[in-house]
């Protein structure tokens, strides 16, 4: 079974700076109405680049059996 990984930003902490959106190689992140980052789980491959970039450290990489 292939494992599904994806990034999950914490909208309570997110400062919506857009640093994650800029580094995402899959263009899977958008800033919802300037409030917080939202990840498109269809596009996200869970590479974790955004999590490493986020200055507020609010992105968690989730993992689940597909």
């Amino acid at each position: 079974m292939r494992k599904k990984k994806w990034a999950m930003p914490d909208e309570k902490i997110c400062v919506s700076c857009g640093a994650c959106r800029k580094v995402c190689p899959r263009e899977a992140i958008s800033i919802w109405k300037g409030c917080y980052a939202v990840v498109d789980e269809e596009k996200c491959v869970g590479c974790g680049i955004c999590a490493k970039t986020c200055p507020a450290g609010c992105i968690e990489i989730k993992e689940e059996e597909a």
């Binding site: 919506s16 857009g18 640093a19 919802w32 300037g34 970039t53 200055p55």
Partner: protein
Amino acid sequence: MKKKHWYDYLWIWEIIYFTLGFFNILFAWLGMIEFLLPLLIAIIGGNKAFCNNFCGRSQLLTKLGTTCKCSRNKPTPKFLYSKAFRYGFLVFFMTMFANMVFQTYLVASGAGTLKETIKLFWTFRVPWGWAYTAGTVSDWVAQFSFGLYSMMLTATLIGLIVMVLFKPRTWCTFCPMGSMTQGICKLKAR
């Protein structure tokens, strides 16, 4: 590779801004663009396109921190992105901005005199007289230039310090403009 846009080069603008202000302080007024544009985008558009795409300071921090590897890339301490610190810093920054406008008013009304200095970190006075020839414009216009340039330079210096210590864009977590525009967007999105 992702497509590069014209606005991905705005970090150059940030360098040009500080260079211009070094030679002629009156260019500091251009900083009002960086002050009003994010607010207008947030109020009218209800988004953070400024922070996300156009902010020269954040691009410069990314360039130096990520591309030039000048950042330790360590996690930002929690309190720096806590709501209390973010809004506290916003209030502090706006108070200092209001004080700067008040100083300009004092000079305009004749109650104060023009000081040809830059104030770093709201504390240290640095002589900056070479960037201005007295009498070129009304004293208050020059006073505001010195004040705004001080604010912009202080913000960038703090940004650079936290960039070196933590993540390249740690400044963005408590940037007053960022907090303010996010606040506006949250109010609009309700």
